[in-house]
């Protein structure tokens, strides 16, 4: 397989170099570099949105999630994505309307302006730093461990991680947002193609869908319903996950930026429906891969399951394409996140464009370094860590939602409410707060408190 990688790998890198060069040609100012000139069409917008959202988390995390916890994972991710796609129409529309008369550089800057205090921007930036760095890190770690398992003894996994971070940072700092979007498109097509080819092959091996599910039934029928064998998919977990995923376009800058850079509202609307179709098309094959794993890889460690089901069971050429697809997925999501954090940093900086851009690029390098370090020490549970990232950033959703939908109510009270929720959530993660409060899962409890307090804040007349 190594010889195929040595052929296809350079082709992929060559395409990246071409795309970076091509994008660089169209850059005339900082806005072109950071925001793609706010001129992104439907197809590019939908592919970049989908590729940023569905990454190694989907390709590697979800099959393993289905294998271990069963089909409740569909409700966890796919149904939540369906709701999110609809919500984009409301949120994206209002966010774009709010930013119309402003020089939108990032959510941090926008919040500072609306709330009229730096606290709003610092809170947003701190939260995305705390919860996005681990999310970037797990993408890098996931693919590095996978490559390490696939090419045993070729090099240590930290070296794989370093190569991926290196490609990511050079690429995004050269070509800017447009280059990232082009590579997202490439990755999205590759990911969707290989995941379906793999699913078809595994389904054929299993003699069809019915036989596959019958075998799962005979091994562990609990995989076929909620809450699943480990009891993970209880109502509380699913509802809390639903809220966290619904809030991704609101709180995660790599996604909200993509709503803002669309050429027109019409393009944004068409993009949202495209993402809905893409979500269904990309998640369904992971059900098949996961169920196949439940039958053929029972009790096997994650890395062995993934390397087996995605690589070793397939012809070398397909296995190589899978590998390139996974590397592309890890790079495209990570560079989008690092770049979005750079955009947020830029929206906080003052000064002439050239020096701000220099500082932004330096900031991106530092973020990438943190992500690399964290990738060496984080856990292997891709989906659960991603969920922590979604839930963590969702704690500041009242700050953004109030700014966007109820601007007159954007006062410091909302910042207090969200700051306390973020601190409480972090304390729960490090075990200083119990996992359950009043028999309610802590993150769900915090969402309920946030909802009640924010609703009261909006309903009570006057500025409070």
């Amino acid at each position: 397989m190594l010889h195929w990688l040595l052929i296809i790998g350079p082709v992929y890198v060559g395409i990246l170099i071409f795309l970076a060069w091509f994008s660089r040609r169209g850059i005339n100012n900082a806005s072109d570099f950071m925001m793609g000139g706010f001129n992104v069409g439907t197809v590019l917008g939908f592919m970049t949105f989908a590729a940023t959202l569905f990454s190694t988390f989907t390709m590697m995390g979800m099959p393993d999630f289905f294998r271990i916890h069963g089909i409740g994972a569909w409700i966890f991710l796919a149904v939540s994505d369906g709701a999110m796609v609809y919500f984009i129409l409301w949120f994206g529309y209002r966010l774009r309307a709010l930013s119309k008369a402003r020089d939108f550089r990032g959510m941090s800057g926008l919040l500072k302006e609306i709330y009229d205090t730096k606290w709003a921007s610092y809170l947003y930036f701190a939260v995305i730093f705390i919860f996005l760095i681990p999310y970037v890190a797990i993408q890098i770690r996931g693919i590095s461990i996978f490559l390490d398992a696939a090419f045993q003894d070729l090099m240590p996994y930290w070296a794989w991680a370093l190569i991926i971070v290196g490609i990511m940072i050079i690429y995004s700092e050269t070509g800017g947002l447009k280059a990232i979007m082009y590579s997202d498109t490439l990755q999205g097509i590759l990911l969707l193609t290989v995941v379906w080819i793999i699913a078809f092959r595994l389904l054929e091996d299993s003699n069809g869908m019915k036989v596959l599910f019958d075998e799962v039934k005979s091994i562990d029928p609990e995989l076929l319903s909620v809450p699943g064998p480990a009891g993970l998919f209880n109502i509380q977990f699913l509802v809390a996950s639903f809220i966290a995923i619904l809030m991704i376009p609101v709180t995660q800058p790599q996604i909200s930026t993509r709503l803002m850079v669309m050429r027109s509202l019409g393009a944004m609307k068409r993009m949202s429906i495209g993402v809905g179709f893409f979500a269904m098309l990309v998640i369904f094959p992971t059900v098949i891969i996961g169920m196949y794993g439940a039958v053929n890889y029972t009790g096997v460690p994650t890395a062995d399951f993934l390397s087996g089901v995605l690589i070793y069971e397939h012809p070398e050429l397909l296995a190589t394409l899978v590998m390139i697809g996974l590397i592309a997925a890890a790079i495209s999501t990570s560079d989008s996140q690092i770049f979005a954090m750079g955009s947020e940093l830029r929206s906080l900086l003052k000064g002439d464009e050239i020096s701000v851009l220099k500082k932004t690029k330096a900031g991106m390098l530092i973020f990438a370094f943190f992500a690399f370090i964290f990738s060496l020490i984080s856990s292997d549970q891709l989906v659960m860590l991603a969920r922590v990232s979604f839930a963590g950033t969702a704690m500041i959703s009242p700050v953004i939602l109030v700014a966007v939908f109820f601007r007159d109510k954007a006062t410091k009270s909302i910042l207090w409410i969200s700051s306390i929720a973020v601190i409480a959530f972090i304390l729960s993660l490090i075990g200083w707060l119990p996992p359950l409060i009043l028999k309610i899962q802590t993150d769900l409890f915090l969402f309920i408190i946030l909802f009640i307090t924010t609703a009261l804040h909006i309903l009570i007349p006057g500025k409070n």
Partner: protein, 73 residues
């Protein structure tokens, strides 16, 4: 015409909320029950697929009655 569009737009919001509520009831996720099956798929999976298709169709309808101007930047 404008009023009709607005009513449909609001209806899609109500439909999205209803879909979200229904998803977390035994209608879609009955505990420890995978029957009835469809094409071999367990109940929660195919019901979940139907919910997702319903979300997408609802979004598709919403796009045509959305209050914003498509040409707005």
């Amino acid at each position: 015409m404008k009023r009709r569009k607005r009513i449909i737009w609001i209806s899609t919001a109500i439909a999205a909320i209803l879909l979200s509520v229904i998803t977390f009831t035994p209608l879609v996720i009955p505990l420890n029950n995978f029957k009835p099956e469809l094409l071999g798929m367990p109940y929660t999976l195919w019901a979940g697929i139907l919910v997702m298709i319903a979300y997408i169709l609802n979004t598709l309808i919403a796009i045509f009655v959305h209050p914003g101007n498509d040409n707005d930047r």
